[in-house]
Symmetry: C2
Subunit: 340 residues, 2 copies
């Protein structure tokens, strides 16, 4: 069996509680004893049993991460590895672990979350997506369990701390950029209709169109998955219109990749025949041909802030609800062009 606090206590000729205090570096222990106890810990190769610690202190020091379902291929989007990078950095700074809730369907993930939460395996949850009428979100809220959302909550926006971009403004600015290039027939390829990110980006698009005094043509708006294939389907629909758009707002780089591929098959040139303004500025954006003009949303920072804010909520139950907005930047590359 492994070395316990008692073994250390015995060897150092102190009480177990003293060892515990040394571990937590309590100021009420003399430097001398600390030194001695630490020495013994080292000699015996002691390592705290976190499970026992969790039980006694009622703290897991682990956060749970909720992914969209992995059957849904959208989960292959580089968004998740990038956000994970920020999360990883955050939890390492506060010496927390991360546990995943994932599965091939909604129920599986939901059960995962219930077990993490009720099983006391995590102190808080980061939701990596946000969508309408989400069972998990409702569950956590009902329990008043600490959690944050990356994205904008569907409802109770004022009650749930969330880390988001200002997607309305981002899409509005993107649209305005295209408008300024002289485009009027601008298409919109959104993600899943239930996702808040889709809803917001669409709103920004419409706002810009309306402010420019242009009609919002519903035929120009399509919804697809955040996937290469989504982009393919989306562009197919738009190009089949009697009067196809001259520019496109594509809400995800992966989709843009699909759009580009399909257009190439159709022997259409980007940006000569069609301008594309993409979102997320993932690693693909600068590697396509032409490189994509894309709105960078600083994905790792979304993850990092999620962790930081979750920790704040747990440490202080009276922590005010926050809406943290991560700034976005339009990265101009070569997929947009003046329209004459």
């Amino acid at each position: 069996m492994a070395v316990t606090i008692k073994d250390v206590a015995k060897a150092a000729k102190v009480a177990p509680s003293t060892v515990s205090r040394v571990i937590s570096d309590s100021p009420r222990i003399s430097d001398q004893t600390k030194k001695r106890v630490r020495q013994v810990m080292k000699e015996l190769g002691y390592h705290p049993n976190y499970i026992a610690r969790s039980l006694a202190s009622n703290k897991a020091n682990v956060f749970g991460l909720v992914f969209p379902r992995s059957g849904n291929l959208a989960f292959q989007n580089p968004f998740y590895s990038e956000v994970l990078r920020g999360i990883t950095q955050g939890v390492n700074e506060i010496k927390h672990g991360i546990q995943l809730a994932a599965g091939s369907n909604k129920d599986e993930i939901y059960n995962n979350v219930v077990q993490m939460v009720q099983g006391r395996r995590v102190d808080g949850i980061v939701m990596l997506y946000s969508q309408q009428k989400d069972k998990i979100t409702n569950y956590l809220q009902g329990l008043n369990f600490p959690f944050v959302i990356i994205g904008k909550p569907f409802e109770n926006e004022g009650k749930i701390t969330h880390i988001d971009n200002d997607n309305i403004s981002a899409a509005k600015e993107g649209t305005e950029y295209l408008l300024n290039l002289g485009h009027e027939k601008i298409g919109f390829i959104g993600g899943n209709k239930n996702l808040m990110v889709t809803i917001d980006r669409l709103a920004g698009y419409k706002e810009a169109m309306e402010e420019a005094g242009l009609p919002v043509n519903e035929d120009y708006i399509v919804y697809e998955e955040f996937l290469i294939s989504g982009g393919k389907h989306g562009i197919e629909q738009l190009m089949n219109l009697p009067e196809p758009p001259t520019a496109l707002l594509v809400t995800d780089d992966l989709m843009s990749l699909g759009v580009l591929t399909t257009l190439r098959e159709k022997k259409m040139q980007v940006p000569e025949d069609l301008s594309i303004l993409s979102f997320n500025n993932s690693m693909f954006a600068e590697l396509t041909d032409p490189a994509l003009t894309s709105i960078d949303i600083n994905i790792p920072e979304l993850g990092y802030q999620a962790v930081t804010n979750l920790m704040a909520i747990i440490n202080n139950p009276k922590e005010p609800v926050k809406r943290v907005i991560i700034p976005h930047t339009l990265i101009k590359r070569r997929s947009c062009k003046q329209n004459y």
Copy 2:
């Protein structure tokens, strides 16, 4: 505070131990009591505290996953989301949780692993990569802690259960496919030199060349990261040779994407000017132009088998060491062409 086993016991007028037995569906409890206790559990909304259970039973029911460092962008490779899909399925079937060890540098990840292991937070570990002289692998082996590797161990191959493809054969078959198309000047773009997958695929490539009686030109062999940029750098080097190859073995689809992009910039045609045989058959493979001929290695199955075999090791300490080989398939698309 939450409902405990004692609350249930009191309400059901039985002993806590009886409740515990009902939970584990012990055959020594009458159906009557089971029914009654279960009823009470439902009424009170009881959920077991897994932390307490872990402490008492000395089982975490959680597996740890070790990722390559997230600073290393290679971790953005779709390989990881795909392998996660298989792992997720596996752990859900056996009702286990998953905890991540990740970080921006080797030490961070190593510390993560030590904490998971010594902190008793996990019962076993899945290594999602394999490379030479890996500190973590050595640590786990020294402790005789249950773990499996996805890929081939650098050393002690006969002592570590691992889930792998037959990468030597895969690369050999791929090379032979190109040879049969009439290519003789075949280049090889590998991943990091320390990765076993690189070493094996290179070996297969060389074997095929030698068996065909062709010289292995070291200039034709380059090592890059499993990234789009890796592909770009790789192809740059090869095209700068006085006599560039007519066909390429590219050991990752993401790399192939980079190769394709660079070639397009250089106005070179695939497969007319250069044939490309790629690996992994990730979601990009069929979406590039031309679609990539790629060797499918069934990534989710690697993950699923990793979990299954890890569980077997934990359940039976005498479980024999295994080398599980997941079959590969050459998926022919449009990136390879006869050479005249």
